[in-house]
């Protein structure tokens, strides 16, 4: 809808007087402010914000679940949760954190920053983008509805048979889990198709693949992983749903099924998933470290190719999750070696980051602190990860707290710290205000201390034999001496409170910044990549004119040039660079139009899912909604035709976007 008349001085958005019709019945949505402008938007920036806001909400939900788990385990014979509720709690904690926090938060950053980083005005398929968001949100809410409808899923996040079967889990919890993940899977798949197409097809002139910012590169790898991993879990979830709802026996050993089938399908998805979670954060800190070291990223091609290598080798390590299942010596040996091998590209990245810091003019902003925090904490988690590749030792550690310690170091110390680094780095870009640095420092240190207090002792607990997923431990099993189970469990639980306070400070920081935060200058960090070559927050059309790219770190090279002695010196301010773009501004920029259909279509999916659980007629209603949505969608042009605008746009000088 939005046609933007650009004169040099005004970025006013003209509203449209004669909206085109959708399916002949509905008027096309035209609101540019208010809730309707968010509900029906196809703008990648609004969708990015909505993704992140929803993910933050689920982060709080998942965090509260974690705190309940730690309170239960703080002392022997915990009484806060009963066994059944405890099972639901750890299952939903993991599911929420993996599928409803880290993935969508990374998707939010990808949505917002990929088009900006490659010099595009929107993604390739703006309506599919909106659909992805709504499908994710509805899927996540659907999953969590199970808490109120007879109990949540209780089989653990990897939902092994036979715990996933109707005998061991008679409530509807796992049905909600299966269908909820199916819906978020559709969202991820649609998002992957969209973002890969965007990165490959929508780059600004001169933006060769090897000139792309690292964040975009890592997201490209992630989206390919999603593209090929999601269908595998889709198959597994379908089979499980047919078993639970229609009487099939795919994972029922008593009917002759192979219980390892689920494990293989799950982990063929599940291990690439691990890299889906961590690579976006690797991308974020590869942007942050050079900016605050005042140096280019050390070995850019190595960081790119090691990311791609992780993406490839990530497909060949899944069975290291299954060393205790009796795979046989050949499989175990192969997967041990591939697991050791995948540590190499990860190590390459750590070397590159360290060398980026080496000799740089380091500036420890909150974003930088979180980035350095990631390097240290992820390395610890990576090292305990390598110990898992030693199958004999892993067989001992399987299903103990040692594993829990490992993946929290890589996922919390790695993925989450990277995301927080991104929050502090990009906040001024998105909202035009700087997050409070002082609170940021407290936020960082409380999170570092809290996370090490919580997850550090779990190494010890695990090696001493405390199993995962036990809802209580008893004094009799706590062991001797001061540093027994009791001490470390209490220590970890106190740590989780410290960690929670750290995260609370971040939320407080958001509120304080929104109320009276410092307005960010155009280029607050003296940044290097293209997303900073536009206003804060960016205009609806991102760039007044699409820049032609001639360098990696294009923005930096427009600001700095080599002087006679080979030193890079600042020759232009960010304002001057911006002015050049504005002087060449495109006259009319024709942005993709808002649409009812993405949210409408996505709303059909949970209706179908309810129907599968409760009664088939409801599913048919959902199916009709989806079908109707598809027709509405395919008849509606993605961008409103020129004669829908008043005054009619003349195609001659209109730049079409997305």
């Amino acid at each position: 809808m939005a046609i933007i008349e650009r004169s040099i001085t005004s970025t006013e958005v003209f509203s449209v007087a004669t909206p085109s019709s959708s399916l002949g019945a509905l008027k096309r949505p035209v609101a540019t402010t208010g809730w309707k402008s968010w509900l029906f938007t196809v703008d990648h920036k609004k969708l990015g914000i909505m993704y992140s806001a929803a993910a933050l909400f689920f982060f709080i939900v998942g965090g509260l679940e974690a705190v309940l788990i730690r309170l239960q385990l703080a002392a022997p014979n915990g009484k806060i949760l009963n066994a059944d509720l405890y099972n639901q709690m750890f299952t939903m904690h993991a599911t929420t954190m993996v599928f409803l926090f880290v993935m969508p938060m990374a998707a939010g950053l990808a949505n917002y920053f990929i088009p900006l980083q490659i010099g595009a005005r929107d993604v390739a398929f703006p309506r599919i983008n909106a659909f992805s968001f709504w499908a994710f949100l509805f899927g996540g809410l659907f999953l969590n509805l199970s808490w109120f409808l007879g109990g949540a899923a209780d089989g653990g996040w990897f939902m092994y048979a036979p715990n996933s079967g109707p005998v061991f889990s008679p409530s509807h919890g796992i049905d909600f889990w299966v269908l909820g993940l199916q819906i978020t899977g559709i969202a991820s798949l649609a998002g992957a198709v969209n973002l890969i197409t965007t990165v490959l097809n929508m780059r600004a002139p001169g933006m060769k693949l090897m000139r792309m910012p690292i964040f975009t590169w890592m997201q490209l790898v992630v989206q390919f992983l999603l593209l090929f991993a999601v269908p595998v879990i889709t198959v597994a979830l379908f089979l499980l749903s047919f078993q639970r709802n229609f009487g099939a026996t795919f994972f029922d050993v008593s009917a002759g099924a192979d219980p390892l089938l689920w494990q293989h399908l799950f982990w063929i998805f599940g291990h690439p998933e691990v890299y889906i979670l961590i690579l976006p954060s690797f991308g974020v800190i590869s942007e942050v470290l050079p900016v605050f070291s005042r140096k280019p990223l050390f070995g850019y091609p190595f960081v790119v190719f090691s990311g791609a290598a992780i993406g490839f080798v990530g497909w060949g390590v899944w069975a290291h999750h299954m060393f205790a299942s009796g795979l046989g010596p050949v499989s175990v040996a192969v997967f041990s070696i591939s697991t050791m091998a995948i540590a190499v590209p990860t190590g390459v990245k750590i070397v590159n980051w360290t060398m980026t810091l080496w000799g740089g003019k380091l500036e420890f902003t909150a974003a930088m602190k979180f980035a350095v925090g990631l390097i240290v904490l992820f390395t610890i988690g990576g090292l305990s990860g390598v110990t898992h590749s030693v199958a004999p030792s892993d067989t001992q550690q399987t299903d103990t707290y040692y594993i829990v310690a490992h993946f929290h170091y890589v996922l919390f110390g790695g993925a989450v710290f990277g995301l927080f680094s991104g929050f502090y780095y990009w906040w001024p870009k998105v909202f035009g205000k700087l997050l409070n640095e002082k609170l940021g420092t407290w936020n960082f240190w409380l999170m570092v201390i809290g996370m090490n207090m919580t997850f550090g002792p779990m190494h010890i607990l695990g090696l001493q034999g405390q199993p995962r997923r036990m809802y209580q431990w008893t004094e009799a099993r706590a062991g001797e001496g001061l540093f027994n189970f009791g001490f470390w469990n209490m220590f970890a639980s106190i740590g989780s409170i410290v960690l929670s306070i750290g995260i609370l400070l971040f939320l407080i920081n958001i509120v304080i910044t929104a109320r009276n935060g410092k307005v960010a200058p155009l280029d607050p960090w003296d940044a290097r990549s293209l997303e900073w070559m536009t206003s804060n927050p960016p205009k609806e059309h991102n760039f007044d004119s699409i820049p032609t790219i001639s360098h990696l770190d294009e923005f930096f090279h427009r600001k700095y040039q080599e002087d006679a002695s080979g030193q890079m010196v600042k020759v232009k301010t960010a304002e001057q660079v911006m002015k050049e773009l504005e002087d060449n501004a495109d006259a009319h920029i024709h942005m993709p139009s808002p649409s009812y259909w993405p949210i409408f279509l996505a709303a059909g999916l949970p209706v179908i899912s309810f129907g599968v659980i409760y009664s088939i007629p409801i599913a048919i209603i959902g199916g009709v909604i989806v079908l109707f949505g598809c027709y509405g969608w395919s008849i509606e042009p993605s961008t409103a035709p020129d004669d829908d605008f008043d005054p009619p746009a003349t195609t001659k000088d209109v730049v079409h976007v997305g």
């Binding site: 005005r121 929508m202 229609f246 009917a255 399908l265 495109d586 509606e636 993605s638």
Partner: protein, 200 residues
């Protein structure tokens, strides 16, 4: 002045790869579908010998019948090519004709599958009879649903084109459905070979 951007539908003229967004998106989606069918086929291959008390594959399969319906489906790829070719030439009449013929051939295949499923059911092979039967019905059922979706798309596109409401390029829309249709056919060749031709 840079005008290097494009709408969702207006072709490949300005993209970085030279491939239109729609086509690239469709190829990516089909790549993902390979893994979907890969998972289903693996499940079937694992379970095809586990018949329990139920009938064995060789007892129920009617290979001549399925060969004929497979032939019908393969021929629909040919008519799909004719439809795409007519669409590229801007020959509306033949586009409608061949698209409709493709839809009819696809529907015939689905009809054959329904008949086959009914016959198997009557011979005592229900969905829950054995691991073999469940994984057979899931795999072929998923394929059947894909063909059905294709038929619906083909019939819809004819209807929409006759009212000339297709946003963007008509020929590309037909070509996209064609890509999907050929993919579904290729998958059937694999499924037919693995399920029916290679004895368990």
């Amino acid at each position: 002045m840079t005008t290097d951007s494009h709408t969702e539908t207006d072709g490949a003229a300005h993209t970085s790869t030279g491939l239109s967004n729609n086509k690239l998106g469709m190829w990516l989606f089909l790549g993902s579908e390979c893994l979907l069918f890969g998972g289903l086929i693996s499940t079937y291959m694992l379970y095809r010998g586990r018949v329990g008390e139920g009938p064995r594959p060789s007892q129920v399969f009617d290979i001549p019948f399925t060969s004929v319906s497979s032939f019908v489906l393969l021929m629909s790829s040919l008519t799909m090519v004719l439809a795409v070719s007519a669409a590229h030439k801007g020959d509306d009449r033949n586009t409608y004709l061949w698209t409709t013929v493709t839809a009819i051939l696809g529907a015939t295949f689905v009809g054959g599958q329904v008949y086959e499923f009914t016959a198997f059911y009557n011979e005592g092979m229900g969905f829950t009879t054995s691991l073999f039967s469940s994984s057979f019905y899931v795999l072929t059922g998923f394929h059947g649903v894909h063909v059905t979706v294709g038929v619906i798309m083909l019939m819809s596109i004819v209807g929409i084109m006759k009212r000339s409401k297709v946003p963007g390029s008509k020929s590309e829309t037909v070509e996209m459905i064609g890509l999907y249709w050929h993919f579904v056919d290729v998958v059937w060749i694999i499924i037919f070979t693995l399920i029916y031709l290679i004895p368990a």
